[in-house]
Symmetry: C2
Subunit: 205 residues, 2 copies
């Protein structure tokens, strides 16, 4: 994870540390996840970056600004991928659902801190409420895939499709609580385990 | 959910609202879940209860005290049940695992606010760290059940038992994010759906 400057990065200023926007965002997300967004002040962010409280405003207009950028990072990735998969209508719904789960797991792993922040958002501000609305729309696309797969007869019909959808993506999302990059479980192992359990079950056939 | 006085309740005082400890705890847990424990002050709790900032100290020594009581409520229920089930060694591990999942779901539903608070605890204080340690011990008992069931040959052996355990209880725990008492899904429907998906899979047999 190198600190490559993003476009629109703020150049280093003489006499105080200079950070590009991507680094500021990454460090801020870490603080938000560690101590909670609501409990984090601009002063905390300044301390984390080794800046004075006035210097941090050269990098960040507000902490809401950072929260919005972080939530958009996760939502943009999920949105574009899930929408694209759902739209490949030549495939049966079950195959699209498996692909959507695999991609969701990859995004969760690739954008772990941003996705963690997204999944902890409770709607305590307008920024969080807007994010939760986008998240509900994505969940709706996934729930439609589950419903379509049930209707096509490939999935069992004795559990409500909405409940299936909540539990399935609950299992995916719960990974943020324990997944660590570089551990024995990588994105592919995780995605295969989730689809293996969810579609085929744990009981030895 | 009536506000029955708990043993050790504080009697009503003239001129200000009187609350028993169970009510204070329940209202506090709701505030913690709504706005985050770290972001909640004693002043917020006083406002919630319609008390002055000095009057609340007649009911509550500190917010840590309430947090500890809330986390203990969830942990005591989980601990005693999971330990008892795991110890019924006449049963095969798979049957004990199914029973443990069913009971965990019932506890989650019966103690939803306290379990929600427990699952959001990040270890930001000694109280939270002690709770996380108790939670890890319970998770360890459950993981042992999964391992035993894999060893007994009833569960598939192509997924690491620890990963199975994390995903299985991740699916259970994720229910706190959407479950609402009185909705179309009750504890039994939820527990049956989780065991149905996890053991038998979604694919139509």
């Amino acid at each position: 994870m190198s600190a490559e400057p993003a476009s629109g990065s703020v150049p280093a200023r003489r006499g105080r540390p200079g950070y590009d926007q991507a680094t500021v965002l990454r460090r801020a997300i870490d603080v938000f996840n560690r101590q909670g967004y609501d409990a984090t002040s601009m002063g905390d962010l300044a301390r984390e970056l080794g800046l004075t409280k006035s210097a941090i405003y050269h990098h960040v207009p507000s902490k809401e600004h950072l929260l919005a950028a972080a939530l958009d990072e996760a939502l943009d990735a999920l949105d574009s991928t899930v929408t694209a998969i759902a739209a490949t209508s030549r495939q049966p719904a079950e195959a699209r659902l498996r692909a959507a789960i695999h991609s969701s797991v990859e995004i969760l792993v690739d954008h772990l801190p941003a996705v963690t922040l997204l999944l902890r958002a409770r709607g305590n501000s307008e920024v969080e409420q807007a994010a939760l609305e986008r998240r509900r729309a994505i969940d709706g696309v996934l729930a439609d895939l589950v419903r379509d797969a049930c209707r096509e007869g490939t999935l069992r019909d004795d559990i409500d499709p909405e409940l299936i959808s909540r539990l399935l993506f609950g299992m995916v999302n719960s990974s943020v609580e324990w997944f660590h990059p570089g551990g024995s479980v990588d994105a592919r192992v995780l995605a295969d385990a989730i689809t293996g359990i969810a579609f085929d079950g744990l009981t030895r056939g």
